[in-house]
Symmetry: C2
Subunit: 433 residues, 2 copies
């Protein structure tokens, strides 16, 4: 690129109508001139050849992505991860903010993903290592999306559960049980105090435990638990399936007794979720398979908060995400970034409930609560409830007892001396996280 | 895990009915005992808690994923990439083959992805770095999928193009042109000798160049080129959009004159492609945005051949993929793995045409052909045709001239001495790759 070519991909914020742009933060490592690398990054993701041969025209003013800010730091030891790359020259670690004109693709999730996570981003000359760190949308762009139907407040109203976290549990054994004993486990967990008993993300509509049968059994068990406790409950059924079955399975599961639905967001695709959202009559909950494949490493891929935002935009009321502690291999600051991405203001889009999960139990509740710093989160043990040595009702009770202690300002360990379910949980799971 | 727990996740191949399993090759780095790490990997992706509390049962024989083979090599310098992780102990680099019972989830792409690229794989204790290297299916599993409708042979018949590669071109400028001048570029490229003029993967249905208008203009231009050359041509329209618009846009584009359709596979989702395949009346071509985000690094993520296989399975007739040369940041052996994944036997699933692309021109054709080692590939320049100094018709002609030279056993550079379009291409693009 000539200096003039490069300049066409830079702009001052004040020179742009920011309503026409989404903003992208990238970190990358490049070989050669960082300023030229950033111009290539803009060119490749927007108008890579901005004029016809022999025609005096320039599509860049309207159609080019433009660098708004750039910070480059020499990296004398070279690329942090060895990769195939044509680039030569001194290596820099760079952070850029880019304004990308959304009129190039419109308010469509697949086209948005193609622009911001596509060939232009991951095959830009000189940049073998790059991570999309964050994404921000103008309100006029967000207004084209429905976002969560119920959101945090709607879910709380459905459960009549206020001023505390929402207590989920993943029914275990997750794979292998037929509907009747599976429903019995759900019933026990509701009786013990869970708000929401859920299918594992791996348990969907299978011949050895068909969704219709399971939803009917869990629906009965849920209503029985509601009658006996006088408290509202949710059975969260996993309808993850081929996209042309999502709407039919929504109807089937809800008719039979599910009152919230789980979808594995990336495997199904965010656009399919947006389609389902238009039809949904119950809260939609996201699970996180596949996301780690592109979000774990600090130097490459896509930061998980980007996908948290997109899941919220697509219409999920709840986003389950990898939680705290080294077991889930996600730095604490990243979990908190994702929690914030659920709850922070997002134009007309409602907040969704963050559920940072992974190997939780009564022993981890206080830590999660302190880290999140508010009651607006979901807590989702699996074995911490269903592997409790006294059974699932006791497992669920141990969670509620832990919360009662925290809410009353009593040390959880002290409270356990008079609450055997909690004591058993601390003993069984206390050392695990 | 106890030694007995671990043993429940190992099996001899001869002890299994292999029709019940898909086979997965993983490479991973773990801290601690590799044999136990591999057992966890199986447990987490299948039946993580294989019995109820207080019930004498074991779901592992039917539902557990099982290690078939394991090879561990000490890695005295520790993990190759620093990551958050609970694991401690000596580090090993490990390769395993795992048999995963597909009855756990069925013949459904989202559930398959959840099983083999999900939480169980990427959050297995002791394994912060893992890559799914390959996947193999029994024929009975494949039989549930349609696969390509046309495949390599069907595409050749549509074009009446045999015994040579298929010549694609990405119309450029990719973003910014209205339909009429865009169609004129397509027309020029067909006249010059392209088989297929295509929309860029970033150009879909946008208000400044609506798909209906574009397909009509390109359809007219295509028919005109066919009349004038007496040769069949394809306009490949990009219908990437929200999944509930794929079928309507298929119909709209085909009615107006497109005779093949481009879909950005990952942004739309493989399952949505499978849905579209059921309805499609023309060849479906995959583009590769997003895939690099999880496939570039040797130590982490998902090998791109896994997604090549899945795109073929979902029903694509053609798979465009990052091609040869350091510009595309993909090692040569990986490109060849993806080419093979398109063409090798796959039970009842037809072969699809591999199109290894990226910064191609008349100057790179011979190298691509020699590396692929057969004529069964597509060649897809962008600027190599539409940025040719003599214009797109000359750009297309330069590609055909290069092929004529190769097919006649004449050195391309020699052939250029009597073919000015080829000479201009070699001069303009020759040093680029």
């Amino acid at each position: 690129m000539t200096p003039d070519d490069i300049a066409g991909f830079y702009a001052e914020r004040s020179a742009l109508n920011l309503d026409d742009y989404i903003e992208l933060d990238f970190s990358f490592e490049c070989a050669g001139d960082p300023r030229e690398a950033a111009a290539h990054l803009c060119s490749e993701q927007s108008t890579a050849q901005w004029r016809r041969v022999g025609v005096d025209e320039d599509f860049r003013p309207r159609f080019a992505a433009k660098v708004l800010a750039l910070e480059a730091t020499p990296q004398p030891t070279g690329f942090s991860i060895a990769v195939e790359c044509a680039a030569t020259g001194p290596v820099h670690a760079v952070r850029v903010t880019i304004a990308h004109p959304h009129g190039n693709f419109g308010t469509k999730l697949p086209n948005l993903l193609s622009a911001v996570c596509g060939e232009g981003v991951f095959f830009s000359p000189g940049i073998p290592l790059i991570r999309l760190e964050d994404i921000r949308f103008p309100d006029c762009y967000l207004a084209a999306f429905q976002g969560p139907q119920f959101g945090v407040q709607g879910l709380r109203e459905q459960l009549q559960a206020f001023e505390r976290p929402i207590f989920f549990g993943v029914i275990k054994p997750n794979i292998g049980l037929p509907a009747a004993p599976f429903a019995e486990l759900g019933y026990q967990s509701w009786i013990g105090g869970l708000d929401i008993a859920k299918d594992d993300e791996m348990l969907a509509d299978v011949d050895w435990c068909p969704l219709a049968e399971r939803a009917a059994a869990l629906g009965d068990a849920r209503r029985r638990a509601e009658r006996e406790t006088g408290v509202r409950k949710i059975y969260l059924a996993n309808i993850t399936d081929e996209v042309d079955r999502l709407v039919p399975l929504h109807d089937l599961a809800v008719e039979h007794g599910a009152n919230a639905l789980l979808v594995n967001a990336m495997p199904v695709g965010l656009s399919a979720v947006r389609m389902l959202r238009k039809h949904a009559s119950v809260p939609l909950i996201a699970h996180f398979p596949f996301i780690a494949a592109f979000s774990r490493l600090a130097a490459y891929g896509i930061h998980s908060r980007v996908f948290t935002k997109l899941q919220r935009l697509a219409g999920f009321d709840v986003v389950i995400m990898p939680g705290f502690g080294p077991r889930m291999m996600t730095p604490e600051h990243e979990v908190l970034d994702c929690v914030r991405a659920c709850l922070e203001p997002m134009g007309p889009i409602k907040p969704c409930l963050p559920v940072p999960g992974g190997s939780d139990s009564a022993a981890t509740l206080e830590g999660v609560y302190r880290k999140v710093g508010s009651i607006d989160f979901g807590f989702v043990p699996g074995r911490g409830v269903f592997g409790h040595p006294m059974g699932p009702a006791a497992g669920a009770a141990s969670i509620r007892q832990a919360w009662d202690a925290i809410a009353s300002g009593i040390a959880v360990a002290d409270y356990a001396t008079t609450h055997p379910e909690l004591a058993a949980a601390l003993q069984a799971f206390g050392a695990k996280k």
